[in-house]
């Protein structure tokens, strides 16, 4: 998959656990885990906005387009 989720890296940089983020953005740990492991098929703007607000980052810090694979 060319779009890679870098949530783990940002969480590590902020010294924050997934459980803490889940509580802060009001999204279940299960759903955030799906996002973190790259198993999600889509992400809502509202989810992205909440994560970026809590982690004080840009969407580009969480999602990165890698490679020219189809």
């Amino acid at each position: 998959m060319p779009v890679v989720v870098k949530l783990d890296d940002v969480l590590h940089a902020r010294r924050m656990t997934l459980t803490e983020l889940a509580a802060a953005v009001d999204i279940s740990v299960v759903n955030l885990s799906i996002l973190k492991t790259g198993k999600a098929r889509a992400i809502r703007f509202s989810t992205l906005e909440a994560i970026c607000t809590v982690l004080d980052c840009q969407p580009g810090d969480i999602l990165r387009f890698e490679g020219g694979e189809a």
Partner: protein, 174 residues
């Protein structure tokens, strides 16, 4: 929510009741077909007494048996509709009705309804046949509503299939 549960429960009960009645009708038609051979003479005598000696007895007997076979076929088609409907109601009860399987079931009901409409045309032909034999039979008028229902069901099946696809897509959305 309680009201919905009651409607759902009542619907399942009605469909089950229809299934039972339909099964008994099919059984009745099958028994009638089988019995029509050993009691052939008795039926002929009753027909001649009612319609007189000019009656085309062979034709009337054949027509009666065709009606019974028609009844069995119509009953089997109706059974298909009711079992599919019961399966859909079960998915509603489980709380997950928007599935590709239900779209397939609605399409199956649409095909079965088309079959019933064609059987309705056969009934029209049988009405004309009985009239030609001068034997009493049910009156018949074309069921236009049924054709609209067939079209509606095919469209609904397509809408349902697309809806199930969209739901699957949404399932992977965080």
């Amino acid at each position: 929510m309680g009201g919905h549960d009651r409607v759902l429960k009542a619907s399942r009960l009605v469909v089950r009741l229809f299934l039972l009645v339909n099964f008994l009708c099919i059984l009745g038609f099958v028994v009638a077909i089988l019995l029509s051979f050993p009691v052939d003479g008795w039926i002929v005598a009753r027909l001649v007494r009612k319609y007189g000696p000019t009656l085309n007895v062979q034709g009337a007997m054949l027509a009666l048996r065709v009606v019974m076979v028609w009844g069995v076929v119509a009953g089997l088609v109706l059974h298909r509709i009711l079992t599919q409907l019961l399966a859909i109601l079960d998915t509603v009860r489980r709380g997950d009705p928007f599935t590709a399987a239900n779209a397939t079931r609605i399409r199956a009901i649409a095909w079965a309804m088309l079959g019933l409409q064609l059987l309705d045309l056969v009934q029209g032909a049988m009405t004309a046949w009985f009239a030609a034999l001068h034997v009493q039979f049910a009156t018949w008028t074309p069921a236009f509503g049924g054709w609209v229902a067939v079209l509606l069901l095919f469209v609904l099946a397509q809408v349902f299939a697309r809806g199930a696809e969209m739901r699957d897509e949404l399932a992977g959305t965080v």
